[in-house]
């Protein structure tokens, strides 16, 4: 992009007496035309892809030319989206751009920080006091109405709080520690027990094991530690239960990798479940009408998002019956962080109802009427919880 010696006057002057330059001009024009025309022809003859797995969305298709789409201009915008979405080597091109950005020092891509040691981080959400106060007062009045149920709130920090040494230099984020403190204070005013995951995680020796590098979730290791803290709070003895880890994937590139298109690192996915004494469970996905005996859907390992191996992903409502010899019944209101923790509850509750308020259209009061819950747990991660807009309304239903 240098304003250079390509002065038109100079060029015109010697244009007649310089045949080698003419040849070069033809070569240059031909090369450039070749690039353009080959891309154009690609679009003429290629057939469209339907989905982009790394973006998790449907791609724009060849737009149909109609009088109305021309008149309102939608044909023109659809045409541009079609070219962009179906561009040859699209994924490779985007990765190339990310590489180039990193080369010149850019440290974030699509809202994801590209950290050190292969760690990718979500940008931290900010704490909106007004909104959060509303959520907490709803939570507290809910807990007052249901005093007989032992209720706890498991709120996990996100990876950047514990692995801040791997954040890019100079990243200025709101402190998760103080966000969690604010949440703890507000929750402690009511009847709900706050499970301080941050302190638990801070005591861990190997903090890198707690979070995925390429995904925004915690690992089964973090979930188990949080589970222990929760059970301790509920005074349920888990010492006789053995928890087993099993690696199910070593090629997981999670949502942060997809968002940023940084593809040079993969995570392992370990599942964790109580292996002794043996407990059997039946998981009933009510709205989908399916029943299964496993907490892990290994078919999901064939897709891109291996975290969906836990519970098969996010569902509105799952009703779990276990062979545990207890009267205890548990209600879980959660986001996707809970998915890898749910299997651990099996030996201690005979009934577990898992509800994701983001997707569940049932009335909470009716769910509570149907079952006689002894325990209830909110399981969220900080970022999702700060951005959440569904829990408050769900608690009022």
């Amino acid at each position: 992009m240098n304003n250079n010696q390509l002065d038109p006057k100079e060029n015109e002057k010697d244009q007649h007496d310089d045949s080698s330059m003419n040849v070069l001009s033809i070569i240059m024009t031909a090369l450039f035309s070749l690039i353009i025309v080959s891309v154009s022809l690609f679009f003429v003859f290629s057939s469209d892809k339907e989905m982009s797995e790394s973006e998790n969305r449907v791609l724009a298709q060849r737009p149909a030319l109609t009088f109305s789409s021309l008149a309102d201009g939608s044909f023109m915008t659809d045409f541009e989206s079609w070219l962009a979405d179906q561009f040859p080597l699209r994924e490779k091109i985007i990765q190339l751009k990310t590489e180039a950005d990193r080369l010149v020092g850019i440290k974030e891509e699509n809202g994801v920080y590209i950290g050190k040691n292969g760690f990718l981080f979500e940008k931290q959400s900010s704490y909106n006091s007004e909104k959060m106060n509303g959520v907490f007062s709803t939570l507290n009045s809910f807990s007052k109405k249901n005093k007989s149920i032992k209720t706890a709130f498991v709120l996990s920090p996100n990876s950047s709080a514990l692995l801040s040494q791997y954040l890019p230099s100079f990243v200025a984020e709101e402190s998760q520690k103080s966000q969690l403190k604010a949440a703890e204070e507000a929750i402690s005013k009511g009847k709900i027990q706050f499970i301080d995951c941050y302190s638990v995680f801070e005591k861990q020796e190997d903090k890198e094991k707690l979070f995925y590098k390429t995904d925004h979730h915690w690992t089964s290791h973090a979930a188990l530690e949080a589970f222990r803290a929760l059970m301790k709070n509920w005074k349920i003895d888990i010492s006789k239960t053995k928890f087993e880890f099993q690696t199910v994937s070593s090629s997981f590139q999670g949502t942060l990798a997809s968002s940023s298109q940084v593809r040079d690192i993969s995570d392992s996915v370990e599942i964790c479940f109580p292996s002794e004494p043996k407990v059997s469970s039946v998981l009933y996905y009510e709205a989908q009408g399916t029943k299964t005996a496993s907490y892990f859907d290994k078919s999901k390992l064939e897709n891109k998002n291996h975290y969906e191996v836990f519970m098969g992903g996010n569902f509105d409502k799952i009703i779990i019956s276990t062979s545990a010899e207890t009267e205890n019944a548990l209600l879980i209101l959660k986001d996707s962080y809970a998915n890898c923790m749910i299997p651990m509850f099996a030996p201690f509750f005979s009934k577990i109802v898992v509800v994701d308020p983001r997707y569940c259209s049932d009335k909470l009061s009716e769910i509570m009427k149907d079952y006689d819950f002894s325990h209830m747990a909110f399981i969220y991660n900080l970022n999702t919880f700060l951005e959440d807009t569904s829990l408050e309304g769900f608690l009022k239903k």
Partner: protein, 470 residues
């Protein structure tokens, strides 16, 4: 349609080029006529692609001004009638521009001054209207002045107004510069390849430089201005300074290049404006076609500097307020223009002798600081936010914070490259004496730039939708 769109690059450009270049007629005159018809059709499609409705407005402007030209020619020798026709034409063009560009602004001010509620709903601004109206005015005035002959054919005139390379963002071509080329022009292999290089350079400026740094500016300018530390504010406006230069001059380069490919020679619109050592110098290098237009058709019409110094001061002030207003219907553009008018007057009448003694490099820095302060008015949404931003730059309670350092460490390098490039450091790069070798290297360099532009354009559309899908 924008030049920096995939639609333009991979659909419009190849199709137009095929129809334009593949010869159909043996007679040169007929072939040029064919080329002109193709070019006109292509231009209309190009415009209608983004503005399917407002194309009517452009067609009205073409027919109107074409007829005005014919009438002015007809009344040649009858000064009174000619003046009346000119007055009518200028008024019509300005009213058209006024209705579509300034009516909302006027209504808003009337409401504020008289505390009325007019409930006026302003039109959306038709793309390119400021540019083609000014081109039409230049034609009409030149015909009136007798510096050019009226065009007697509609096709070349229509091309002059709406030719797609300069239709949307200039340069503002004056009729006498292209009069002959509209009918017949030189199209050569050499010119095409040079045009391609210009076009790619412009595309690179826009897509690689301006878009990247523009994103940083949008992020910084969206922050709370009350608590912004000085370093972030300066860094932000530096980003905008680079964005607007590379955006605008990139567009001009693309226009120039496309023009050259089609056989036209337009004037350079930018000449390293950020190397200027005075405000006057800056405006000789920035958006040259606009400053020349205002000089030729407003400043000279008002009498220029021939009517005494008081009148000169008034003329300069008036021209610069109008220049500001041309950039947008809002008070901060007027203030921006007035700011430059005042500075030019100070430079001319007050500080002329002082400035002579100051070393060149200090004058360069001084000019850049003034230009950046000017961009604050230009980039802000209102005078209030401009004032807040200036406060952050010059009177912030904090010098810098972690976030300033984050911006600096993330974007400092590319900003430096852009700044050096805007100073012309990479001019003549690589420097080889051998012309063939130089051209070959340029070809390789520019093809890489083009490929990377496409990479950027495609990546921009990467739109992950990850957390919410059920």
């Amino acid at each position: 349609m924008l030049f920096s769109s995939l639609t333009f690059l991979f659909a419009f450009l190849p199709i137009t080029a095929i129809f334009y270049f593949v010869p159909v007629f043996e007679r040169e005159e007929t072939e040029f006529k064919k080329k002109n018809i193709i070019l006109l059709l292509a231009s209309l499609i190009f415009y209608a692609w983004g503005e399917p409705v407002y194309i009517v407005l452009m067609l009205v402007s073409i027919c109107f001004n074409y007829n005005i030209g014919r009438h002015l020619q007809f009344y040649d020798g009858f000064e009174k009638q000619k003046k009346a026709v000119l007055f009518f034409a200028v008024a019509f063009n300005l009213i058209l521009l006024g209705i579509f560009k300034y009516a909302g602004f006027v209504a808003e001010n009337v409401e504020n001054i008289f505390s009325l509620s007019l409930n006026y709903k302003a039109f959306a601004l038709p793309v390119g209207i400021s540019f083609y109206t000014f081109q039409a005015l230049s034609y009409v005035i030149d015909v009136y002045r007798g510096t050019v002959k009226a065009q007697d054919k509609l096709l070349p005139f229509a091309l002059y107004i709406c030719m797609f390379p300069q239709l949307i963002a200039g340069p503002i071509v004056q009729y006498n510069d292209v009069e002959k080329q509209l009918v017949k022009r030189e199209i050569s292999k050499r010119k095409i390849s040079v045009g391609l290089l210009f076009f790619i350079r412009g595309l690179g400026k826009k897509v690689i430089f301006a878009n990247t740094i523009g994103a940083v500016w949008s992020e910084i300018s969206a922050q709370d201005l009350n608590s912004m530390p000085a370093l972030t504010a300066w860094f932000g406006i530096l980003c905008y300074t680079m964005q607007i230069y590379f955006d605008f001059s990139g567009y001009s380069d693309m226009a120039l290049g496309l023009g050259k490919i089609l056989g036209f020679d337009f004037i350079q619109n930018f000449n390293f404006p950020y190397t200027a050592t005075s405000i006057k110098d800056f405006w000789k290098r920035w958006h040259i076609s606009l400053s020349s237009w205002f000089r030729d058709y407003v400043y000279f019409s008002l009498g220029g500097n021939r009517k005494g110094s008081k009148r000169t001061i008034f003329n300069i002030a008036a021209v610069w307020c109008l220049t500001g207003l041309w950039h947008g219907a809002s008070w901060n553009f007027v203030v921006w223009g007035a700011f430059y008018g005042a500075l030019l007057l100070l430079e001319k009448f007050v500080f002329a002798s002082v400035l002579e003694k100051i070393p060149l490099w200090i004058k360069h820095i001084l000019t850049m600081v003034i230009v950046m302060v000017g961009w604050v008015f230009f980039a802000s949404e209102s005078m209030g936010s401009a004032a807040l931003y200036l406060k952050a730059m010059f009177a912030s309670s904090e010098l810098f914070d972690t976030q300033s350092l984050y911006y600096l460490s993330s974007y400092g390098f590319i900003l430096l490259v852009m700044a050096l490039s805007s100073f012309g450091v990479f001019r003549d790069f690589p420097r080889f004496k051998n012309k063939e070798l130089r051209f070959l290297l340029h070809t390789a360099e520019y093809i890489l730039i083009f490929v990377f532009c496409v990479v950027c354009l495609v990546s921009d559309t990467y739109n992950p939708f990850l957390y919410f899908r059920f």
